[in-house]
Symmetry: C2
Amino acid sequence: MKLYDYAYSSAGYRVRIAMNLKGIPFERSSIHLVKNGGQQHSPTYKAINPQELVPTLEVDGHLIGQSLAVIEYLDETHPTPPLLPNYPLERARVRQLANLIACDIHPINNLSSRHRLKEMGHSDDEIMTKWYAHWITRGFAALEQLVAAAKETGRFCHGDAPTLADICLVPQMANAYRFKIAVEAFPTLVRIDKACRELPAFAAAAPEKQSDAA
Amino acid sequence: MKLYDYAYSSAGYRVRIAMNLKGIPFERSSIHLVKNGGQQHSPTYKAINPQELVPTLEVDGHLIGQSLAVIEYLDETHPTPPLLPNYPLERARVRQLANLIACDIHPINNLSSRHRLKEMGHSDDEIMTKWYAHWITRGFAALEQLVAAAKETGRFCHGDAPTLADICLVPQMANAYRFKIAVEAFPTLVRIDKACRELPAFAAAAPEKQSDAA
């Protein structure tokens, strides 16, 4: 399998964690999102991913875009260890937590949204303080509430083994740390993130461990 | 089952379509997203959905937020008719198309994002022309490319039966029509949307058919 990816893509980071947890060997093809105006906009890559986004997973000539679609595919084809629990209500809980991050924090703060805000006249500083921090703080506040009070929460977001929810949490938390967003109000998320990063599969997937890191 | 929902929520619209396709009876509880500053912000509803978003599905006292998590749950517990194909690569394709809309168009254009842009000084007109239209047009361009060329595409986004991808497409297309975004450049999406809306399950889920429609 070949993963079109960029070290600092948090959607790519999710797929790297999933691949590592499953122990699936893969080749990485770096698509630098900043260099030369963004390699994701090259005609070659546009043919691979018409959204001009990473990651894309190539499997036997088939191309899969969208990180959650990729991870569900990996979970269906390489079921051990599972990234979703066994029972539908539990699976729904994990997917709810994952989608809270993957729909309602990440894309709103993504490079392309920030780029658009710049085109609409906002400074980098304004984008970071009024937009980026706003969506992480708002999303994490809801997530903390969903996780802190629930009996289903264990060492990780759901029980004592990592799931899709943790796979989404860790890259989002890395963004928060990278851009110095205050996370003290989310002690459960901070604790779970730390527990995840102690696992080799998560540690090896970190942006700074990738060959295309700055 | 009880669905906390609002007629013009496109995430709610997705769940209504899925419920109708499966033939699952459900009660609707209207959470008016505009009246009284937004009923989703009431303490009662915040306890149901800490993100202060609709929809939420209540099943035997359990609460599931995030429309895609809800629909995957419905598909697992009420497998007929299936909303995802049988084979992992095909399921991945459908989830990719669905997530393109559910992650990279809808939340960026959601009421709360538009509200935030207003707080950052933009007029309604600017938000509609420079932001809302931008993300629909950009997302639909990629989606059209993914769907138009693929041999997997049939009467619907994937084959000749509706899937999760169509469930996401129709509410997004409804938004485009409602806000007069040009869709002529996306003939395959226009065709599929029309084919979907001819089905009673889609027709009955339309915003204007709901008791809380304006």
